[in-house]
């Protein structure tokens, strides 16, 4: 009696009570033992994508189409769409039989990799509802939503949010709620649209399920069928040791896990640092505006991903897929991790406008390498000019339109050869300021020509816009014998009749005059 009271007044869902099978069916008169498990209140939501093989193969809706399962000795049809079913084609048929029934049937091979990729993308989307998501190989997602119910407005609100999201992505789904993972999976596979929040009702609900929703191997199911077991409830009524001997301990453990008697272990999905997504366009895009619209959707998904990971984007790759041509990749590099989606969109816009579309685009992809945010040490009251963030944004915008090499800083390199005394600094501000203790004994021009320009000489004197008159010099520079780029030059500062001061040298090897720099 005391135990009966305990059962009645125990809080609902406070743990799956382990009751033996006989008492569950016969009544609570003789409970053998009551174990109040210390598990927290768990509620699992299973999203079962029953049509995923067809959707992964991009099957058309109107024409009859079926997916071929090539594994096993006999290739047979795994799934067929409604148009094929109307013609009489059923899963499990062989290809020849199906073609005999419907000659216009399209048969596509099952692409497991693609299904897995889609499932991973959906898991990355589903992580906004709960951090505990796990993937099931049978095209299902399992989410632990017990802790998220309050945030999303209860069971009904969560259900609406999830189904809207999945439908907007274009996938058909069956949903089921249950206190254990396996029970949720089986209920969803059997038909879905059921929510069990209390584990006391679990055996009753599971009892009605047919055997093929269990995804057990065909041999085991055949054994059970020969024993007279038609539904799950029948198997639950059988004695445990006999059942274990007939079908194996592994399947018995699955039953226990479903009822909550045994804990189940499954690895949960954790989003990786990379973000990869692809959006197929409904029609070919000829202008960059349409590509931008698709990119906006992808950037919104990227924003969610970044929020979950608390990271920023370091490099962004935009992939434009063309029909029959290799994909075009556009790179948007960033100086530091960025999570500002508006800034990324602007950079992508600049990049797209700078390059023309080589061919009509059929799909737009996004790939982002993320990195954790580095804390920036900045002054809280710094003026706008000194903020490194604003400068980085400016440099990124310039580079997006003009090209990565177009914006750079300069730095000095110690050395005698003039053309090697400076170098390009790709990250401005990173090169330490020059040590001003080394004074140059001779003047150097403010502007250096990329390549020294040959001057025509008249009577041994160089001419550039008039006869040049030397003002200073000569300065002899002979250096660089060790890497084969040695120079032997005499440098002069010369004036031309217009008042321009030039830095001219005479190569000692061939005696020719060259212009190397301009003062002022």
């Amino acid at each position: 009696m005391a135990q009966f009271h305990r059962k009645r007044f125990s809080s609902p869902g406070s743990g799956s009570s382990s009751v033996s099978l006989a008492s569950a069916v016969a009544g609570p008169q003789s409970p053998t033992r009551v174990v109040a498990a210390r598990t927290s209140r768990q509620l699992w939501l299973c999203l079962y994508f029953h049509d995923l093989p067809l959707e992964a193969a991009a099957a058309p809706d109107t024409a009859a189409c079926a997916v071929l399962n090539g594994e096993g000795r006999r290739p047979h049809l795994l799934l067929c769409n409604s148009a094929a079913e109307a013609a009489g084609v059923r899963p499990g048929m062989s290809v020849n039989a199906a073609l005999a029934l419907e000659p216009g049937l399209q048969v596509v091979r099952r692409d497991v990799q693609r299904e897995r990729a889609i499932l991973t993308r959906l898991a990355a989307w589903a992580i906004r509802f709960t951090p505990i998501v796990s993937l099931d190989p049978a095209n299902a997602l399992l989410l632990e939503v017990g802790a998220s119910l309050k945030l999303f407005g209860g069971l009904a609100g969560l259900r609406a949010a999830v189904s809207d999201g999945v439908r907007s992505r274009g996938y058909a789904v069956r949903m089921a709620f249950a206190p254990t993972r396996r029970a949720a999976l089986w209920l969803a596979r059997a038909g879905g649209d059921i929510a069990i929040t209390d584990s006391r009702y679990l055996p009753g609900a599971l009892a009605k399920l047919p055997l093929d929703c269990l995804d057990w191997p065909a041999k085991t199911q055949e054994t059970l069928r020969r024993m007279g077991v038609r539904c799950l409830g029948d198997s639950l009524r059988l004695p445990r040791d006999g059942l274990a001997r007939r079908i194996g301990a592994r399947w018995l453990r699955e039953l226990d896990e479903a009822l909550g008697r045994q804990p189940e272990a499954r690895e949960s999905y954790s989003p990786t640092g990379h973000f990869r997504d692809l959006l197929e366009l409904p029609a070919e895009a000829h202008s960059s505006l349409q590509v931008l619209a698709a990119l906006q959707v992808l950037l919104a998904r990227l924003y969610r991903h970044l929020q979950v990971q608390q990271a920023g984007v370091q490099t962004l790759w935009i992939r434009l897929a063309h029909r029959g041509m290799t994909d075009t990749w556009l790179r948007v590099g960033l100086l530091r991790p960025v999570a500002d989606i508006r800034h990324l969109r602007r950079l992508a816009e600049l990049q797209l406008s700078a390059s023309r579309l080589a061919a009509p685009v059929v799909a737009v992809g996004l790939r982002a390498d993320t990195a954790a945010f580095r804390p920036t040490d900045g002054d809280l009251f710094a003026e706008g000019r000194n903020q490194p963030e604003a400068l980085a944004q400016l440099l990124e915008s310039l580079r997006a339109r003009l090209g990565f090499q177009a914006v750079h800083g300069v730095g000095t390199v110690p050395g005698h050869r003039p053309e090697r005394a400076w170098h390009v600094v790709t990250e401005p501000g990173s090169w330490p300021p020059p040590n001003t203790s080394g004074r140059l004994p001779w003047q150097r021009p403010l502007w250096l020509l990329e390549q020294p320009a040959l001057l025509d000489s008249c009577g041994g004197q160089p001419r550039c816009g008039g006869t040049l008159t030397p003002a200073d010099g000569p300065e002899r520079i002979e250096s660089g014998w060790w890497d084969g780029q040695d120079i032997r030059r005499d440098y002069y500062v010369m004036h031309n009749p217009h008042g321009v001061r030039l830095w001219v040298f005479r190569d000692r090897r061939d005696g020719a005059w060259y212009l190397h720099g301009i003062f002022g």
Binding site: R385, H408, T412, P445, W447, R501
Partner: protein, 255 residues
Amino acid sequence: MEHRERLEQILRDPRIWQAGRKSAAAARTISTCWVQLDEALGGGWPLGQLTELLPDAHGFGEFSLLMPALILLSGGWKDASGEVRGEHRRDSGGGPATAPGHARDAEGKFSKMHAPARCFATNVDSGWVMLIAPPHVPYAPAFAAHGFDVSRLLVVRTRRQMDVLWAMEQALRSGTCAAVVAWSASSDERALRRLQLAAEEGGSLAVVFRPPGSRECASPAALRMRLSGSHQGHGLRVQILRQRHGPPTTVRVDI
């Protein structure tokens, strides 16, 4: 006599308004560090306005005219305490390491420039200096020798003319650069007007070098100067075509 000179110098400070004199520049300026030019402009290069320079030729000192202001804006010429250094020395040999300017005296650049301490901008907000589409490679050792902080220099190379004006507009509008200097051959008046507006928004020093033929074109720039070489000596003849505060004048600057 000395006292009179000093008094006049003090009175030339644009922060002092004198009735009867031309109106001092109310806008922010940065000293050009050339005495005659500061007087003519009433303070120096205007900050937050577009300045247009039209040199007659290339390489006869038009950039050297701008150089001291750029050095100040890049944070050069500052000693350990962060203050702009006092008078620079005119040494014939190598001077001490902290002396700004060129060590060589005979030809020395900026040897006739007056000391930064007497510039009217004693505390200058230093920042980045951006050169857009310069005609040649800016030679880092030469910039460093003049006192420029080379780590604050940004160079932007463009392929098309419209990119030059676009990049300048972006840089001015963001306000992150202390000075933006561009070389543009375009004569698009609308683009220049946008540059003027962007300069007002950002508040940096905005200078555009344009080819000499643009003198006749209308331009919305606040300050327009034509630079030509004077035939005697190495001076530069600066003809101020238009400025906000004051009449057009001609100045001769010895570089």
